[in-house]
Symmetry: D3
Subunit: 259 residues, 6 copies
Amino acid sequence: MRWEELTSPEIGALDRDKTVVVFPIGSVEQHGNHMPLGTDTILAHEVSLAAAGKAGNVVVLPPPWYGFSAHHMRFPGSVTLRAETLMAVAEDVVASVVKHGFKRILVVNGHGGNGGVIDVLASTLGHKHYGAARIVTLTYFALARDSIAALRQSEAGGMGHACEFETSLVQHLRPELVKIDRAKTIYPDPGSRYLTTDLIGSQAVRVYHDFGDLSPTGTLGDPSLASPEAGRNFFDGSVDALAAFIDDFRGWKIPEGQQ
Amino acid sequence: MRWEELTSPEIGALDRDKTVVVFPIGSVEQHGNHMPLGTDTILAHEVSLAAAGKAGNVVVLPPPWYGFSAHHMRFPGSVTLRAETLMAVAEDVVASVVKHGFKRILVVNGHGGNGGVIDVLASTLGHKHYGAARIVTLTYFALARDSIAALRQSEAGGMGHACEFETSLVQHLRPELVKIDRAKTIYPDPGSRYLTTDLIGSQAVRVYHDFGDLSPTGTLGDPSLASPEAGRNFFDGSVDALAAFIDDFRGWKIPEGQQ
Amino acid sequence: MRWEELTSPEIGALDRDKTVVVFPIGSVEQHGNHMPLGTDTILAHEVSLAAAGKAGNVVVLPPPWYGFSAHHMRFPGSVTLRAETLMAVAEDVVASVVKHGFKRILVVNGHGGNGGVIDVLASTLGHKHYGAARIVTLTYFALARDSIAALRQSEAGGMGHACEFETSLVQHLRPELVKIDRAKTIYPDPGSRYLTTDLIGSQAVRVYHDFGDLSPTGTLGDPSLASPEAGRNFFDGSVDALAAFIDDFRGWKIPEGQQ
Amino acid sequence: MRWEELTSPEIGALDRDKTVVVFPIGSVEQHGNHMPLGTDTILAHEVSLAAAGKAGNVVVLPPPWYGFSAHHMRFPGSVTLRAETLMAVAEDVVASVVKHGFKRILVVNGHGGNGGVIDVLASTLGHKHYGAARIVTLTYFALARDSIAALRQSEAGGMGHACEFETSLVQHLRPELVKIDRAKTIYPDPGSRYLTTDLIGSQAVRVYHDFGDLSPTGTLGDPSLASPEAGRNFFDGSVDALAAFIDDFRGWKIPEGQQ
Amino acid sequence: MRWEELTSPEIGALDRDKTVVVFPIGSVEQHGNHMPLGTDTILAHEVSLAAAGKAGNVVVLPPPWYGFSAHHMRFPGSVTLRAETLMAVAEDVVASVVKHGFKRILVVNGHGGNGGVIDVLASTLGHKHYGAARIVTLTYFALARDSIAALRQSEAGGMGHACEFETSLVQHLRPELVKIDRAKTIYPDPGSRYLTTDLIGSQAVRVYHDFGDLSPTGTLGDPSLASPEAGRNFFDGSVDALAAFIDDFRGWKIPEGQQ
Amino acid sequence: MRWEELTSPEIGALDRDKTVVVFPIGSVEQHGNHMPLGTDTILAHEVSLAAAGKAGNVVVLPPPWYGFSAHHMRFPGSVTLRAETLMAVAEDVVASVVKHGFKRILVVNGHGGNGGVIDVLASTLGHKHYGAARIVTLTYFALARDSIAALRQSEAGGMGHACEFETSLVQHLRPELVKIDRAKTIYPDPGSRYLTTDLIGSQAVRVYHDFGDLSPTGTLGDPSLASPEAGRNFFDGSVDALAAFIDDFRGWKIPEGQQ
């Protein structure tokens, strides 16, 4: 169910104990020469909608489209919110949903650059609405890391941005938006063994990287390995992981009291 | 053209002197018993896209969906940003677009409750980007006021919210989202001759009205007068008015200098 | 009654149900070669005081003098608050007045550049103090539009800033502050048929105009048509309109509940 | 010269090297049973205007009227800005004046409760405008402490608020605003030898005192010792002290460079 | 070298190309019945100082002590900054250090609750100081995860807060501050297989947990496995990992340009 | 007692009626050629700890180290918080302490540049926590002014910054941190008889002074008069004054009610 397509009485009639409300966020930013600017938001939204359908009793809010993309601004078309603006949007949307009595709210992020922001939001929103609702934040491809790792063909570093993973997904979901003939493969050098550019890589240190310093086209990785079939598999893996989490989340206890 | 569907190089190739960038905003809020929560954003977006197609050389940014809707929060499903959050979103999006060299940016609003915010934005953003870009803000149904007035059937007060006008438009554009059998007609009493609830009415005084005090269903006006045909006419009138303005705007001079 | 001239017990003794509290705001900004910088605040204050006397049971707060005047800063002597500073001042003053139990508060604005700010304030303050007080905002010359239109001699565009209207008013109220021999008549070209520079003109689009781009002296319109007699008439028309509104406002219902 | 009464060209013609711009601030708050709410602003303004006339080459900005008065809110009619709002107003006004090329700006405060705010402003504004202008902040009765101490009749504690000093000054300047028959004498007990309630007393520790805990009427001190003659003497002493400082300030060096 | 113990000329003489500046942050919050409130800051500071000595050419700023600890406030003695306050402190400190010409700044965090904040800071500060300095943020026990995992005796869930790891470290560094006889072992149930309470555990979802809901004493894990010897080993492992990273970081390239 | 060394249950067990909580603040900024950057915070902390020991029933919070030092930024090693950041830190720390039920909180400042900030904090925090706690702010050397004046040898102007007073104190408390052979004596000229650079001088006017304009080394005054013995005397005088105040403060009444 899409929140924006329901009427007010239909929202009013939903079972507050069973319903999980999903708030997808992403970004509008360069995705190489071959992929649409809206990739991250489109994917977070589509994964959310499909997982909602699979899990049932889920309503998906419309995505506010924009995210924290300061590191992509050298490339035309990238749009960035300040980190505090993105937090403010999420605070206001979540507060509105809590006001209507919903108890389990899930922020589904599709953009690596929003990672710190959603981590802070989990703390600040969880604290603010303690006793009324639980708010979980996650990045869908981190949640589905195991399935993605099993499906990928790229070597380490080959799946970073506008890469095998993202390109496959958009080829599966919105094939008309991919100009695959313009895609360039770039294995970037992040400059230190402590740093990785892999989408599902893991690193203990955080540092700012302008994507223009990593790649002339903005692509990190190897889109030549992408295909609609791979996209379907990545998509199914991501949706399954998210639907499974939603089923688990629905059973979480809401502590009582105020803070 | 939809900004989010273009690639970065495609945005990069657009002619900065000719291109007008449109940023549609609206709201997610109750629209009576019969209309979807996303009505205002859907309409602002669709009118923008159609006017873009008609005027040519226009790119339409994706809408951030949420607006200032504090006065609708008594009704389930309404979501509100604080006024300052909405301003921050517009500030960040516009700053990003200006950074990419675009010179004429048009905020197309579809929600009466955003009226003050877009008025302030015209001033603050125009001042901030003076010498680089001109930023215009407008509400599409105010721009098309004359054509709407000529087409409407409702008496004064009959066209306020989820009314003849909005219902017709959604029936025209997204008929599956209208539950017309649940629609209720309400001619609200705003409580003073200085106040009107008409969408294209005019009043010198500003005051806060909780919509729950004006109408038990949230509807202001007479949706029974709505029809898909009327919707097509309202839509064409709105699109024509917006496209005509865009043509004019494209020729506006950009003053030089900084402030 | 001037709030600042009363003692605390005198304020304490006022009837909370009958009293309307007026908060005049304006600006300190260039008014051509011939008019004082404080024109807008002086006029909003004088109109408020006279309307208060006429309507009875009204207390007028002292004006904070400064407004949003970024578009006048090229001219010496102009002073501007940021939009958010002006909002903060109004928020704090209104919150203080509500704390003392007053239920009807009217912001009377005398400066076009504050238009968006007072529109936002009506929404945010009305929401914040819902159930305790109603807050109305208006611009006095928009309220008195009809009477002004009937009295004016200038053609369209001849009454914008430091013009027939404002010059006449100051000649009537503070003649020693007008250097009429230095006045220049300017019919500015706003650059589009969608734009007007008329004080009581109406336009659907909002855009920032640096007054230095519209007029070399900062004057918009024709002060040569001004006279003290016209000023008295404009003043009486404005005061009558405001007093009539206050009488109406005094009867408005205060909804119960909180938000 | 009153800034608000000058035209823009008149401000433009002032000698930037010789002119000192004075920005008076005060408060709107209870002043006992017998004194007007606007006392502090009226006095800061009148002292500033008289000192301006005596010193020459001084322009006095209009006062924004409101100050930090949280500690008076228990008494009807008191109005308070948040500390940050008052700072924002002063920041914006000073920035505007610096933009017009003035190099020496003096904030003249007339309200003890603004003491911390003007101290912070001296630091933050002095830092911000380093190289362009020097900004001094002072409280006029602290500057004139010696002359006031010589003139006063009250014992320690007898001159705090709405007291011999302030009552005399208003009797001298605006006698119609003093209801001396309603005045009550209160020698408050601040509760510790580390604390004083004297207007020109000195104490190393800062603490919040609600005036309602110190005095049932809000008066601190002995207004029965007030007289118009004492008011004239207090006024002359205050004006002399301020004019002398302005003469000194006019000669202060403006460091070069930026920060 | 401790920044606060050096003189200004000594800081001035440091080689800007070789020097790494470390900014340790932690928290003041409950650490069970047996550990001091300052544990996290003490440990981040001590690890930083030892790594600085080992790596050479490192200056360690003094820690601001307080962190984001909203989830510990139910326990006496916990102190929390708002997330935005902690960010503001780091922004200001880093801006000051960059102003003095240092090019590599490392925020060493010792508190899990600060995790999101330092992630956001890496992005926002890296963006702000692009071209002048690189700013890295990390949590020392995440960096040393492998060595800690090899040394630990606790089962999964046994090392969360005031646990084997932290207790051992304080026993090693400040034994007088540990009241080991009051320690309680708690293996908390986080309520879902998606959640872990292990200090070096890994989870894709973020959610707020009040520590009072997880443990009656605030301890998560098994402090009975702690010992000073284990502490020395944990400490050496953490210091080695941090010193090794600093050596690597010192060689990172500073991109040119501005953003 | 040091707050950060206590366990949560130990804080929990303290008598809320008798305990005074001290929050020391200072700065990290140049102190001439011979003194450590951390001087102000070290001294505020040491004086607080010694006074706490002498007075009894006092807990000393750890200092956040950094203060408002914009006027020292020309000298390497100086670190400054914005004034609003320092306020935010104090607001959060004090709110946390009040939440744990403490009723008397004392901010002990050791840095002249924080003067305005702590004055504002006394007002804003006192207002916010009215009815729950009293918050006092002071600068320890202003509190001990009389004893310092009796002990000093420097002439007026000889005791400003990194001077006889501060150098003696650090020689007494942390002799290894003073490079006395590098000390330079500077009697600065503040440029007006209204200004003093003396640490315990008194002046009615506030103005920003970059220390680089006052002294080439950053020292204001005569460190050649410093000695460890003088340091012991200054220290004892400061501690005695603070302990005496704490004893008095402990008896202050907490007003009832809310604001």
